[in-house]
Symmetry: D2
């Protein structure tokens, strides 16, 4: 078999992505070091993520021409000399965080803060300016530390049959799960059974969060968003919804749904691109969801910030430009909340979630997620639709491997 | 309103229960101390438990004439002067463990080992010789420390409508849940999502264990029992079953179901009355399930012993009489298991599970549990049927309060 | 024995406290309800707390004439009719949070957010406008729910001998401990052994935090403050110190001490009255420590906010007045920290810490804390000295019961 | 530099060890596979462990001529082509468990049950028949998966200065720590502060357990053994001791020390070679300590079994030969204990403990452990002395690298 090139989606400028051709990947790190621990994948599916939208919009700053994509599932086509347990032909899920498996953080399954895969910060990922790892919205991908990083699907045929669910294991589903697990790390999610949970965001990761809440036995699950079409995907599955465009204050919705204006757990699956609430709903209010977490959590409750925050070059606000936000911190201190923020260590959760999927424990997942398979060349258009509020989870099928 | 007597089920001798009449309860402890912290309940429902069968069979020794029953739901009809938050007319679930809410263990929600409610051991319960608390398979019940112990149902009508599920909150459902939670105490159940779980026992608590496994997102859930009718209740809900009467070794079943002869987690919901496996299936083998836990758990897995073990006066075996058993302990040490044993602190779990039920998160529960409502006078016969392997969960309705 | 009055310290106006005489307490709640669950204490010791300074300075707003004091140790002199395990003559420590022991939060040992002892918010405490509970910097005190709330010292004579250490159990020591425990709640403090810990504040609670870090086996313990005399109390005990007045950036200190500019865990024991760092050290910068937590924690590290934040009526800044602060939240998100904020549930930790003290496991405690016993009438002057940066932990001995 | 051979201690028959010469190690696994992930160490120190005594006595069965030793510290002298972060010249501690860092269990830091380094069971170790890894009581050692397995000491000179403490990180100290951490895995040790802890065994691992109890802030620490000389090492450090030879029942000792006959936590650091208690103290009673754990733990307490249990070919008892023991399991069920058993995942704890040592947090360690450095050729004699009850922790210095 011989391969010549590798077409990959790139960021050109805010609101413009392209597909460009690069050379076929080698077992070499971004720093040019040989990587006998790595493999080359032929991409089976590669999803567009909400955090790709931050890049697309320019709110997460990256260089022109940078390759993107970090939610990959692939078939192993080349194996380095120090790879032992991943074999040619395996179908594997790639955690979006690049872990080395050899640093303190990775050894304790904190692959979200790997100390070795990004020379600039303790955090490496594909398709960002976080270590120089080539993005995976393309045809082929180099994955280092393959034995440590990759999740092998036990059965190839079953994997392709369930690819619409399994493709979610590279990021969106474990990231959503992290919203529940992070505050009690390293123990498992505490107290979720029966809880009232308020989720901000009905985009793919927010909907995956609602799916995780169901999986974990939450009581009342409430999802808030501005886009009715996204909320409608959740309603048939026993999820309560709040349309933030309807002018009714969130506390009034909560009173109606749970009888009190606060809930046990509030999770932010939106990040810094949020519109404001109420009178501010016609503009971006970067700290809208962050303050809502503190406002709507009960005394002694839990909050998680999964949506991305970063210094925002597009902001008009000089503080937001530097990553500084006004928070109702002091007003909320008396509530004594437990909090967490940041990326998910995907590898800590993906195997458990894979086993839940393969054993039929998330029958509602595909209906809630609404996956749409597209061709690689249609990716730039999919970015536009996704940005405009589409209710699809876009999944690129670059080689036409997804069964009809 | 005036009440004259209180009919309650009593243990007469092995294999014989009766309904006898006692005096109406007062706000007084078994030691004769006034209890302004207590309430009197009119019993709405009161279940027969698998541990009542240990009493019935004589394997858990109690005195002749002792009142039994520890799985009560009731309506508050009298309230002590130091009860503040429980009101007359409330419908409440009674945790089977009697907690004081004032000792070290209760303060840390270890109500299973309350230091004050039983002068002989750190463990008090209704309807056992564990502190002298009058049993609740009757018409009325005194409950001490009512504000601490009782779980109030938020809506009276909704409670009666769902009474077939909510009656399970006094013991069987939280006890089943404890099988998952105990090994990672005081953190929440760890690693259940996607796990393979092997449950011994398809009686009510074993079936409730399967329901909890579903609630917590377990992957493969396997229940083993000798009685096909009980296993049949589980099959429609995606539970794998092993009929221990079929002559096939358990490891062969596991190989077929999960591809390996061991699972992530094994739970004993049977206790000391187990029949042996294979060639020993025609007799009681007290340690059969205990050793099966150690045999079928994977390296690094988890086991829980929820089924009751105690010195067994009915045993032919002189060691078993003292509560001593042969265990494959040394052979299993190398597997490095996490283990737990003992009763559930019901109050730690019942509110979360109530909220899961009230919000429709356990739609499979009633079908798996197979509740049968009976009259108080039919209780002795129900013991006989339950002992003979009936697949019902018997629930006594002493006042005819359960809606048709 | 008969008692006539009760002298208690009161807040008059910013920078002025007085001792006024009130009537002798009764077993009655602030709402006028009889409290058979309560006791009356003769105060043995009652400490001045850093949070009393927030009242004194006016940054935590309370009404004129309000009684203060929430760190009490006392002798039981009167017992309600529903108190069973606390006896007349017992020497007891009073957790500063008023818990009911009967709500969801108290049952799960979240006494910091009791749902019943303050009608205005889920948080009750003595000597604040948090439920109307009379302050304890006085001669006598009413304590409700005595069996639940009080920690009994096992031996009266030993208790008085060690009173300088044991008096710390009502607040400052458990509160300091909470800084380590909160982020992994409900599990125990995770990963403290060997960790590098940066503590802001060398006042009493910060010094108690350093003592807890030692108790828990932390590796490098670093305490930062502006007052050298306070830091000097720590140095003989293997604690590294940073004098924030010295003009050297904190990161340079860290480089010198641990070789990197970040640590595993950062705890704020200061709160909203912090001076700024570097060029801003001549003024109050309310968010100085909060942002330092995010700046100096390593990727994947842990922060705790124990120091008090609240809407600050004394602030010149209109946002701070409402409890809103600028935080480097977005800039820090990528570090994926675990965080917590809020009050300590004292009762969750005080018994364990008492046993550590009574068994000689904190021999460094008294030297680090530097307790100074004073008379009740000297309390107003002690406030002035404490506010001016004294290195004493002031403990009022209102009846002269402390052995010489 | 060139090396010709490798002298290593071997097991010849029960009660006889030798030093034999083997060929110099290569970067090749026991199965003959090239290991670019491995390194060769020049051994700096290599300790004799209590579990080596099980081999020596024949109670843990191994083949004649097998190399032994699993507690190594070494200098890296050769590095495989896929080793990135461990460098030639580094001084490193070798965890006794051989982990691959690439299986499910290793990824979750359960290196005690690695799925890949032993083809016969999920458990690999040096110097046992657990995967064929060559023992390390010798001059040189091959270590696979070096980046994952090895703990690098940050400063070479400091490491040699503190080698008497740091040599304990390969097994005995983390193994002792595991006794506290295992029951609450994966969270940190819960509730140790202030606890009463009863430790069986004052051999090296039992003494290290006492040291860990101190490090974690335990209250009353009690160590029981038959050998006064070992107990005497602990007394100066505030440890209570019980000499099991003195004829006084353990419960009487406990009454005297803690006022009750039970404690919060009981840990077995002895294993299957225990002598009986009381009248049985002149013979081996394999289950003596196991039953003592269940007997002396309080209701709701915690037990850990760290001492080795295995099928014992030397036993006269036909059940013990198969690894089956009589346990008071049923009699203890009512106590509702949390339990754990098995090996320590050393790599999960060694870094934290190293940092505690390097920062001076265990000043009592060397005095309690009583390390004696010996030459390689004196190892067989050291086994005899250790077996006879010596109070030394024997540490072999095969190259004379330990500073005087």
């Amino acid at each position: 078999m011989s391969y010549s090139g590798n077409r990959i989606v790139t960021f050109e400028k805010p609101m413009e992505m392209r597909v460009n051709t690069f050379k076929f990947p080698e077992l070499v790190t971004p720093q040019g070091k040989k990587a006998p621990h790595g493999v080359i994948l032929k991409i089976v599916t590669t999803n567009i993520c909400g955090s790709d939208l931050h890049i697309y919009r320019g709110t997460f700053e990256v260089p022109q021409g940078m390759t993107v994509g970090h939610e990959m599932t692939g078939e192993v086509i080349e194996v380095g000399s120090d790879v032992e347990f991943i074999k040619k032909g395996d179908i594997v899920s790639v955690p979006f965080n690049v872990g080395c498996g050899r640093c303190h953080n990775c050894k304790h399954m904190r692959t979200d803060v790997c100390e070795n895969t990004n020379p600039d910060a303790d955090c490496g990922a594909y398709g960002f300016n976080l270590g120089g790892w080539i993005g995976g919205q393309g045809e082929y991908l180099f994955v280092p530390y393959a034995d440590f990083n990759l999740l092998r699907f036990p059965d190839k045929d079953a994997a392709l049959d369930l690819i619409g669910d399994l493709t979610l294991l590279s990021d969106v589903l474990p990231t959503a799960f992290h919203g529940f697990a992070a505050p009690s790390w390293p123990a498992a999610p505490a107290y979720v059974v029966g809880e009232s949970v308020l989720i901000f965001g009905a985009g793919p990761v927010g909907r995956a969060g609602a799916a995780c809440a169901k999986l974990l036995g939450a009581g009342v699950i409430i999802v808030a968003d501005f886009i009715q079409e996204r909320l409608d995907l959740l309603k048939p599955h026993g999820i309560e919804t709040i349309n933030l465009s309807d002018g009714t204050p969130i506390e009034d919705h909560l009173m109606k749904i749970v009888g009190v204006p606060q809930v046990d757990r509030v999770i932010d699956y939106v990040g810094l691109d949020s519109r404001g609430f109420g009178a501010d709903s016609d503009k971006i209010v970067e700290n809208a969801v962050s303050n809502a977490l503190l406002k709507y959590v009960r005394f002694g409750g839990v909050t998680s910030t999964v949506g991305i925050y970063c210094p925002n070059p597009m902001s008009m606000d000089s503080k937001n430009k530097q990553g500084i936000m006004d928070l109702d911190w002091a007003a909320s201190w008396i509530k004594s909340p437990r909090l967490s923020a940041g990326q998910s260590p995907t590898a800590n959760y993906n195997e458990a979630l894979m086993r839940a999927i393969l054993n039929g424990r998330m029958p509602y997942l595909s209906s809630m997620m609404n996956v749409k398979f597209i061709k690689l060349e249609d990716a730039p258009e999919a970015y536009r639709e996704f940005d405009a509020g589409s209710s699809f989870k876009y999944v690129i099928d670059p080689h036409g491997m997804v069964p009809a």
